[in-house]
């Protein structure tokens, strides 16, 4: 009797049934998402508190030892310095260059398409192959860069200390020099990344209403600079937040250049020992899954933090809805 009552009562509660169907339909996607995206993160989180190695039958819980190591050992201090140097250098410059290139290309019209393609080439090329080309160019003795620099010897260029030094004692070893290594990596990161930012900014620029520039002119904005601050920059706010976030995440993820240049150790004196490379070295090469997971968790925290800032900015500051 009670069963038939329940069945009879069902149609009276359509919301319940709808909710159940909805959950049923969502379940496969939800299961996939959890097992593909969330489970690995949780597993890595758990492993970061152990000393697990792949192939070992078991592992020991070692508490926060992995994390303590991260914040005390000098190797990891170098890792943080290299990573943050890279992020702090590459993000502003590649975003700034991307914006500048986008503004120039946007003002060109048809010829702009050629520039667009050229600037985008490094984005499309595999960084690994490009890194090999750069390695040749930066070779201390037979590389194009140092040979070109050497041509300045004997001319008035020697007034500049850099050239004076270089001509007397030889130009930098670039990839082999611990003072230059990370900056070379930064340079390649910028060279490779700004075309991507330019394309994003170009998309943003097409959405700026042309009449706004005319309104700005009528309102007394005389120079291109004034119009930029009154119209273009605010209109690009959402794009900028997105571009900066993406650039930050990409910068945190830098790996292939370093792997190509210094497969054994992350640069001279670990000066280019970035996080991704550390994860690779510890977790894959040395099979120290525990410490590798701990770095991964830290990495995730940084990226999550950036994403939250982006969300906050988008919702609070740059949406004029």
């Amino acid at each position: 009797m009670a069963v038939s009552d329940a069945v009879a009562a069902l149609p009276a509660k359509p919301e319940n049934r709808q909710a159940r169907t909805a959950w049923g339909l969502t379940a496969p996607a939800l299961a996939l998402m959890v097992s593909i995206l969330l489970v690995p993160v949780i597993v890595a989180g758990i492993l970061s508190f152990t000393n697990y190695s792949l192939g070992n039958p078991g592992f020991d819980w070692i508490g926060t030892q992995n994390y303590e190591r991260l914040f005390t050992r000098s190797t990891y201090e170098k890792m943080f310095i290299a990573t943050f140097t890279y992020v702090v250098t590459v993000v502003p410059i590649s975003v700034g260059l991307g914006l500048g290139a986008a503004l120039l290309v946007h003002s060109l019209g048809r010829i702009g398409d050629i520039y667009k393609t050229i600037y985008f080439l490094p984005v499309m090329a595999t960084l690994l192959a490009m890194a090999i080309a750069w390695e040749f160019m930066l070779h201390p003795t037979i590389g194009m860069v140092n040979r070109t620099l050497a041509m300045a010897c004997g001319t008035w260029f020697e007034v500049i200390p850099f050239f004076a030094n270089g001509c007397a004692e030889g130009f930098p070893l670039w990839l082999g020099d611990r003072d230059y290594a990370i900056w070379v990596v930064c340079f390649i990161g910028i060279w490779q990344g700004f075309g991507f930012n330019m394309v994003l900014y170009l998309a943003g620029l097409t959405s700026v209403h042309r009449e706004l520039y005319h309104a700005a002119e009528m309102d007394g904005a005389k120079s291109g600079w004034e119009k930029f601050w009154l119209v273009t920059w605010p209109a690009l706010g959402p794009t900028t937040v997105f571009v900066v976030t993406i650039s930050c995440i990409r910068a945190f993820q830098v790996f292939d250049t370093i792997e190509a240049f210094w497969p054994q150790g992350g640069g001279p004196n670990k000066s280019a020992y970035v996080m991704m490379f550390a994860i690779f070295e510890k977790g894959v090469q040395q099979n120290l899954i525990g410490i590798g997971s701990a770095i991964t968790m830290l990495f995730l925290v940084f990226v999550m933090f950036l994403t939250l800032i982006q969300r906050w900015l988008v919702e609070r500051k740059v949406h004029y809805g």
Partner: protein, 384 residues
């Protein structure tokens, strides 16, 4: 406030001529409408006056000073755009303040933190706020000052755009179809408000519209544009009652003016083969066109000049418009009748129409007005 003079302005986009020699004289404090169909070059002319577009030839002068080569920002004109063009990231108050900030405040003072420390910044901020409040009060948008344009309705945005134009004291106001994005009711209301604003400010207004009703109701003078030329520029009554060109007559007036073929046999003019008893000289053109406003026609029983059948009618309450099919549906004319005449206008009813010779207009085959012919015809018909 100043007068404005446009002399022989031409404009080409690539090979396409858009303006073909525009000359327009606007007196100080005058309200002039530029009216014409879409694509005739009204916006282009307005943008040339504003300085947003350079003319291919000709000159623009404001207050007797040649400004043809001058930047838009230096011309001291205010413009209201069709899309309103409000800055989406600024609040209503900030939007209205932009023209003052850009003109009266130096670049250094506009900087966020340092600007506040500059000498005179505080007093200036105060005076800008006062001007903004006054403009907002005038347009009754005082309650919206802290909102962003995205949170406003179309009508409110339009007011903010107006506020931004009138917050300072420009030489002239340029308005490019400011009402075309509003609904019909709001359009009528805002129309009256803009006209009132013009009277209160006593400023020079150039108002672009494709809507002849707006032009008729608001302007001191109307310039009818078509195909990159001004066909006629005159007071609304003259444009309506005494057009120079058949295109002006057809564009202004709703319902449209009736155009009938007019033929000359010897010295006699006739309509559909029936003599009108109008006599003209032998050197008049063979084929002409007769323009009759719907209100120039009236129903008659005795000796009608036109005969036809009622094909359609629209009762608007205060007046009735009937379409009469003439000559076996070869041509239709629109007649304005009074509600009292309604029962004579049943669908399919045979009616006779007459018209007053003085309100008829004659045009040649190309559409130019033939005032000489009208004068001759009018004289003879009065004698007859």
């Amino acid at each position: 406030m100043a007068n404005l003079k446009v002399t022989s302005v031409t404009k080409q986009f690539g090979e396409t001529p858009v303006l073909k020699g525009i000359t327009l004289d606007i007196a100080d404090g005058e309200f002039v409408s530029l009216v014409g169909p879409s694509g005739c070059g009204k916006s282009t002319l307005l943008r040339i006056i504003a300085g947003l577009e350079a003319p291919t030839g000709g000159t623009v002068a404001i207050g007797d000073m040649d400004v043809t080569g001058m930047q838009a920002a230096d011309r001291n004109l205010s413009m209201v755009f069709q899309s309103y063009a409000l800055y989406p990231h600024l609040s209503v108050a900030e939007n209205i303040a932009v023209p003052l900030r850009m003109r009266e405040v130096t670049g250094l003072q506009r900087l966020p933190v340092i600007g506040g420390l500059m000498p005179g910044a505080r007093g200036q901020k105060q005076s800008i706020a006062t001007s903004v409040a006054r403009a907002a009060d005038r347009l009754e948008i005082g309650g919206l000052l802290n909102r962003k344009p995205g949170q406003l309705s179309g009508g409110q945005r339009q007011r903010v755009a107006l506020g931004r134009a009138l917050v300072r004291d420009p030489a002239a106001f340029l308005l490019d179809e400011p009402l075309s994005n509003l609904d019909a009711k709001l359009r009528v209301q805002t129309r009256a408000e803009i006209a009132e604003l013009h009277r209160a400010l006593n400023a020079t207004f150039i108002y672009v519209t494709h809507d002849q009703v707006e032009a008729m109701t608001m302007s001191d003078r109307i310039a009818v544009m078509m195909g990159g030329e001004i066909l006629q520029c005159a007071a609304p009554e003259i444009i309506y009652e005494d057009p120079d060109d058949i295109r002006v007559a057809e564009f202004i007036g709703s319902p449209k003016i009736n155009i009938l073929p007019l033929e000359r046999y010897g010295s006699d003019l006739s309509l559909f083969g029936r003599s009108l008893d109008w006599h003209v000289t032998q050197d008049s053109p063979q084929v002409m066109q007769l323009g009759l406003r719907p209100e120039a026609l009236h129903l008659t029983q005795s000796a009608p000049r036109l005969r036809g059948r009622v094909a359609h009618f629209e009762n608007l309450g205060s007046e009735v418009f009937a379409q009469i099919a003439l000559e076996d549906d070869a041509m239709r004319v629109t007649l304005r009748a009074t509600p009292a005449e309604r029962q004579m206008l049943g669908l399919g009813a045979e009616v006779g129409l007459a018209f007053d010779t003085r309100s008829a207009m004659a045009f040649d085959a190309d559409g130019k007005r033939l005032r000489k012919i009208e004068a001759m015809a009018g004289v003879t018909s009065e004698v007859a």
